[in-house]
């Protein structure tokens, strides 16, 4: 539901006169709490879906808290480049065995030392099958990992207090890049005594710590204060961080305008057309590491892995007017895609060979579709499935209309009521249409956008795409130690995807946000979360 400005004005007038008539205008006490807590930054968040255990948190609500209270081997700076945090060095000769040295004399906020065992024990815990950790797949490349039974990670070996080695099953050139992700954070010894209790009151080693053992007020907020013992590159420049949990983005946005919130990292869709005039130069709109597409499974009739399928996929892609949809539907909060990754990722390119297929080209689209029809005539409706609880209806309808108008075929959206329902149909492969897909990167690397999604039998390969050439290039890129060379291989792999189009790239989601007049030094990280530690407040 979108209320435009005129609508609001009209309704406001009626309501105001109505309230005046009945004489029941409320005079709620305005509580301005900025005076006493000037340097505490308040930011928006959502109630974590899981206990605050690094290996069991896979969503942003809990993730932004963990990133603030933990320091891993490395962290990502604003550009997404990894910087050493706890680690002194991460070395390898073959991208298969890594030697990791930790800085000396670091402690958790309860005094426990941060040593090689803090990492190795935490990773063993996170990977163990019976611990059911949501992030266990991050350890799947480490020797000894099993999805079927409890089996220790034999690839982890403690050399001395401050040194350990990691051996992978096969070479993974981007493994060091992954180490800034929260699944790889260390845990203090006390955590293992009672993991349930620890998850409610986690003890970390990061720039912030929980204000007290009841700092996590469920469904309301979490209070973090500065951890003075933290010595890494993310030293807090403010007096603390309070993350307020909102049930809706609209409420958070109202709070930003009302002066109760300092930083907001998600503008609600209802404010897309007004937020830039509301906030002026305090509005943020920049590409993020979120890629959106729709996937056409190969098992659908007319879309098999053959000449006809490829023609039809290319025709569909060229029939979509991405510029117009991102402009009109998203008012510029999406950026049309020119590959399968994201512009914030190192190695991204907008001039891959074959990227023309992502440009709106109605004549060529019609031609290719006619060629496909010559092989086997088209009948029926082209449908794109989506979950109706996620605000996708508008763009799916616009995309379907674009296809319909260009190719002259029936095209429409196919809504599923809930996200759970659509994911179930996709996962058990009962879905018989194309479907919406999206990917938010866990760590800033090209491989993360390609391997899990399009490699043969990969976990999130929902369209069951398989191309040995593509797999070989991924493998080659992964085993190359040099990151520029690796990116080169990944780009070649992408060029294959642009021919096969297992998914039709649509656009990159931007991070849209804003901050209050009193906040400054607000910078958004590669993962769309503000770098809270840098923010200052006057």
């Amino acid at each position: 539901m979108k209320i435009n400005r005129y609508g609001i004005g009209a309704i406001a007038l009626i309501a105001a006169s109505a309230l005046a008539l009945t004489g029941c205008a409320s005079g709620g006490g305005s509580t301005d709490s900025t005076a006493s807590t000037a340097s505490i930054i308040t930011a928006n968040g959502s109630e974590p879906q899981n206990p605050l255990i690094p290996t069991n948190t896979n969503e942003t609500g809990g993730g932004k808290i963990l990133d603030s209270i933990f320091a891993g081997l490395e962290y990502y700076d604003a550009k997404g480049a990894p910087q050493l945090d706890v680690a002194e060095s991460i070395e390898t000769d073959d991208s298969k065995t890594f030697t990791i040295k930790i800085k000396p004399d670091l402690t958790f906020t309860n005094g426990d030392p941060v040593d090689a065992n803090s990492f190795v024990d935490a990773w063993q815990y996170g990977a163990l099958f019976s611990n059911k950790q949501l992030n266990s797949y991050f350890f799947e490349d480490i020797e000894g990992f099993s999805y079927e039974a409890d089996s220790p990670l034999t690839g982890l070996n403690v050399v001395d207090d401050l040194t350990f080695t990691v051996t992978l099953n096969e070479a993974r050139s981007d493994f060091p890049l992954r180490l800034g992700y929260s699944a790889f954070y260390p845990l203090p010894k006390t955590a293992f005594e009672d993991m349930d209790a620890y998850g409610q009151n986690p003890i970390g080693n990061g720039p912030y710590k929980l204000a007290s053992d009841t700092a996590w007020q469920h469904n309301e907020k979490i209070d973090l204060v500065v951890n003075d013992e933290y010595t890494g590159g993310r030293k807090a420049q403010n007096g603390g961080l309070t993350i307020v949990f909102y049930a809706s983005e609209d409420a958070a946005y109202a709070d930003l305008l009302g002066g109760n919130l300092d930083v907001l990292d998600n503008i609600p869709a209802s404010a897309y057309s007004t937020y830039e005039s509301d906030l002026g130069d305090r509005a943020v709109n920049q590409p993020a590491a979120i890629f959106q597409s729709f996937t056409i499974p190969e098992r659908l009739a007319h879309f098999g892995n053959d000449e006809e399928g490829k023609l039809r996929r290319a025709a569909l892609s060229m029939a979509i007017n991405r510029d117009e949809i991102t402009d009109v539907i998203f008012t510029g909060t999406r950026t049309p895609a020119s590959d399968f990754t994201s512009p914030v990722i190192d190695g991204w390119s907008d001039s891959l060979e074959g990227a023309d297929v992502l440009k709106f080209n109605p004549d060529e689209a019609k031609k290719l579709w006619a060629q496909a029809d010559a092989i086997s005539p088209w009948s029926g409706t082209f449908q794109i499935a989506y979950n109706a609880d996620g605000g996708h209806a508008e763009w799916v309808d616009a995309t379907a209309n674009s296809i319909k108008n260009t190719l002259g075929i029936d095209a429409s959206g196919a809504p599923y009521p809930t996200f759970a329902e659509s994911r179930t149909a996709i996962t058990d492969r009962t879905i018989q249409t194309a479907f919406r897909t999206g990917w938010q990167a866990d760590y800033p690397g090209l491989f993360n956008f390609l391997g899990p999604l399009y490699a043969t039998n990969a976990s999130s390969n929902d369209g069951d795409y398989s191309n040995p050439e593509f797999d070989a290039l991924l493998q080659e890129g992964s085993s190359t130690a040099d990151s520029a060379e690796a990116n080169d291989d990944f780009q070649k792999a992408q060029e294959i995807l642009l021919k096969d189009l297992p998914a039709i790239p649509l656009w990159y989601a931007n991070v849209t946000g804003g901050y209050s007049e009193t906040a400054s030094n607000v910078q958004f990280g590669w993962n769309s979360v503000p770098l809270y530690y840098e923010i200052t407040k006057s």
Partner: protein, 309 residues
């Protein structure tokens, strides 16, 4: 009287069992796997998924799940949410907030609605009556979320009289604006109901008798007219309590009140069976108690109504 209350309380038991069963069944029948949604757009490993299913008993048939849940309740264990918090704690934290909000709304609605309705009824056809009619029409036709957004925009952002959302602990001064919004859904109905009831009572014999006895208006209006007009109004206000709890879901979302409505909404979206069922059960319980209290109030308002046997 005591026997009557006891019977009413005993009647509540089958109602409760029936509602928990129905709600549990509805949550169970909701299509889609809530655990899959926990992983977002990523597809989890099947073996991991199977383990999580076992943890939340989602691999069991419906009836087994239901009895496991019911058995837990009798041991005082309402289950845990996906974030690891016992549902009993969530209940204890959120219900006081929503009940505070609902009572505030009920008071605003009742005082405002009855007063305006009474004056309207007494001055039938005059200017006040006409404007009250217009105002109540506007409120009846506006959906609550429109009123909520507009109120938040005007009083929270433009005028700055109230906080845009409710701060931690939901203090009373923060709840005033949401309470007014919440009251507005039923407030207008109450004006019209009171007005109609007052007009009807005014023309009854005992009121004319009171006037002809020479009693003052100050005595006739509260004691003779108002008291006798209140019976339908009280019934309505009680059924309203349910409407208020439902309306709280919308209001709490917009004003970010950490109460029942917002938590319940989130739990439904996440498919957390135990949380949803426990919340609805307690809501049903409150509804039953409120209705009992109303039935007892009748006796106070109209001594002719007696509860025997």
């Amino acid at each position: 009287m005591a026997g009557y209350i006891l019977r009413r309380l005993l009647q509540a038991i089958p109602v409760l069992l029936g509602t928990t069963f129905l709600i549990y069944f509805m949550v169970f029948a909701m299509p889609g796997d809530p655990l899959l949604a926990l992983f977002g757009d990523k597809t989890p490993n099947p073996a991991l998924l199977e383990q999580l299913r076992q943890q939340y008993h989602l691999d069991q048939p419906f009836i087994v799940q239901y009895f496991l849940y019911l058995g837990g309740i009798f041991r005082g264990d309402f289950g845990t949410s996906f974030s690891g918090e016992p549902v009993a704690d969530i209940l204890a934290r959120t219900f006081p907030v929503t009940i505070r909000l609902a009572i505030m709304a009920l008071i605003i609605e009742f005082v405002g609605g009855v007063l305006i309705g009474l004056v309207s009824g007494l001055r039938k056809g005059k200017l006040f009556d006409a404007s009250a009619l217009v105002v109540s029409l506007i409120f009846i036709s506006l959906p609550i979320f429109v009123i909520a957004f507009v109120a938040q925009f005007i009083f929270g952002i433009q005028l700055g009289w109230a906080r845009t959302t409710v701060s931690t602990g939901a203090p009373i001064q923060d709840l005033i604006l949401p309470a007014f919004v919440l009251a507005s859904i039923t407030f207008a109905q109450l004006i019209r109901l009171t007005r109609a009831s007052v007009i009807e009572t005014q023309s009854l014999d005992f009121v004319r008798t009171a006037y002809s006895k020479g009693l003052s208006r100050r005595r006739i209006i509260p004691v003779h007219i108002l008291r006798n007009s209140l019976i339908p109004v009280v019934t309505y206000a009680a059924t309203d309590f349910g409407v208020l709890l439902v309306g709280a879901t919308v209001t709490e979302g917009i004003f970010n009140v950490p109460g029942v409505g917002r938590t319940l909404y989130q739990a439904i979206i996440r498919g957390e069976g135990p949380t949803v069922v426990s919340f609805v059960t307690v809501m049903v319980l409150i509804y039953l108690v409120v209705n009992l209290v109303v039935d007892l109030l009748y006796g106070l308002l109209d001594p002719r109504i007696r509860y025997v046997k």
